[in-house]
Symmetry: C2
Subunit: 336 residues, 2 copies
């Protein structure tokens, strides 16, 4: 069931800066849809450190990251933003005044796009293996969607954190055999779960390979046959395996945004700071995702950039209109 949303402005990213962009657009009379791949608003603040205090939000001697999101959500409520959460924005078509975006099953039409994607999309860190792509999606995975997929298979799990250890234990009953590969002897995971993993080892269902690293993948036609491990100063080891699961953590990346034809520098989107315009007319940027001379990756900087982006949005949506700064002290907040 394809949902279609049509708004003046589509904001990619529901972190603090994306949320505040709704406010600045709202002051100028524009309604917004906010899209985020995370299932809730707030971006990193809500996802990674909701309980952490922040001290450099102006006029907040201290605010918890989660409360910052809550306050911003309250502040923009008068402008009735629509949220599309849990789906990554993928395709972009059209041009300034008439863009079409896709996010999961949702189609979004907007006149202006503001990319406020923060550090970008968090994607799995991958091992440096040249033919990795040959097996991705068929034999190599970075997350487990369905456990049954690995039933009676010999699976290599790489990594030493919670995800690696948790899945080694969770798949222990299902798989034919599990090999756990980690570059250190110590695992950075919950003590009790590490113990369960070692119990599986004693039971002969799991083999630990430490300190080893992934070296090569062998196979053909997208079918994995062997995983070769290396050891510093030691000999390689070859494991027969059907699947490889890598749990090396998440790294931020531009994700699908990298395919939109935007000018990129230092893995960020280049904008002209006086307008926050990217190299593609009608696509603006705000917050940490943007790059320009002197750029500081601070939330408070993103807030100010959103006000600039709103001014630029007006020049695109209503080019004939003269921009006039709105002082809420005199006017209050004009609701939608």
């Amino acid at each position: 069931m394809n949902r279609v949303i049509e708004k003046d402005v589509a904001i990619v990213g529901a972190g603090p800066v994306g949320l505040f962009t709704v406010f600045e657009m709202g002051l100028l009379g524009y309604n917004c849809v906010v899209i985020d791949s995370l299932p809730q608003i707030g971006g990193q603040c809500s996802e990674l450190y909701p309980e952490k205090p922040i001290y450099d939000i102006p006029a907040y001697p201290m605010i918890l990251a989660g409360d910052l999101s809550d306050k911003l959500e309250e502040q923009i409520k008068p402008f009735n933003p629509e949220y599309v959460l849990g789906d990554e924005v993928t395709t972009l078509e059209g041009e300034a005044g008439n863009f079409t975006l896709t996010a999961g099953e949702t189609t979004i039409k907007a006149k202006v796009i503001v990319v406020a994607a923060g550090a970008g999309v968090f994607t799995p860190r991958k091992p440096p293996i040249s033919n990795l792509a040959d097996f991705e999606g068929s034999a190599v995975f970075y997350a487990v969607k369905k456990k049954d997929q690995f039933k009676d298979k010999t699976v290599v799990i790489a990594g030493g954190g919670d995800s690696a250890v948790d899945w080694a234990v969770a798949l222990g009953d299902i798989c034919k055999h599990i090999h756990v590969v980690h570059r250190r002897d110590d695992f950075r995971a919950a003590e009790a779960t590490v113990q369960k993993m070692k119990d599986l080892e004693k039971a002969g269902k799991l083999t630990l390979h430490t300190p080893y690293q992934l070296k090569e993948l062998n196979g053909e036609n997208n079918i994995l046959q062997e995983v070769v491990l290396s050891q510093r100063g030691g000999e390689d080891k070859t494991l027969k395996a059907d699947n490889l699961l890598c749990f090396f953590g998440l790294v931020p990346s531009l994700g699908p945004l990298a395919e939109w034809g935007l000018g990129i520098a230092k893995k960020k989107i280049i904008v002209e700071p006086s307008t926050m315009q990217t190299t593609v007319p009608g696509i603006l940027g705000s917050g940490d995702i943007t790059e320009y001379p002197g750029k500081l990756d601070l939330i408070l900087t993103g807030f100010a950039e959103s006000a600039i982006a709103a001014k630029t949005a007006q020049s695109i949506i209503e080019p004939e209109k003269r921009f006039k700064l709105i002082y809420t002290t005199s006017s209050g907040v004009p609701a939608e």
Copy 2:
């Protein structure tokens, strides 16, 4: 008694942006003195509209202007700023790394100066009369410091707002005669006071001249003799007078800052936005007083500019040090 204050950074202006600059400097380890001609911190927020709500401070759905100052004062307390209040900064000497400022009886030494003077100094709006300066300070005034000065004098009061009407009434008993000149028939002042003024007119102590405007001043050796009034489509009127009091409101101006040799455009101080550096090395700007392409006169913009100014201050105070963004979420606030 000359007080001498020596700090890393001297901030001119104790409005929200000046206050937040203390915070950003403090994060980098620099202590600050904040100077303002107003007797309290908070700038316009505290002076002109402390009870007015502001809606566009990020993460504050609403905050009273006075509370904004209070919160900022609390936020910067860990960095122990010193305040010099009630004295306008006048002279500037020295250069980057070694500036000396004067404010009233206080001498301030600092390595870096940040001008965060908002709309500048509020100065009286003056009538467009060519020889006005000949009488300023001797016969023409924009405020009443001592009522007795006008005892038994014939005084022309120009203006139609509260100040004009209030002083017409307050000086009514003291002066020989008062002429009130206003370009409209209606006065924009408290009803009751306007009525008192009209009572003075009936009693023969005061004459109203509406709709009239100031046209010329006649006199010699700084002594005023006549004030000539004009009327659209009518004849001029000449009043014998000893003094002229003009109450045309206050307009912001750069005041003594205009003499510091800084690049000026649109009555504002030109800065390079990637550094907030003015045309004089070591003197930075932040907030509404600054001008650059795309500049928005918003408090939240000034907050972001203060972070940039702090980075630049470090490049001046500790040029050998590599700038590193401080994330308070990880580090907290390092007190002085």
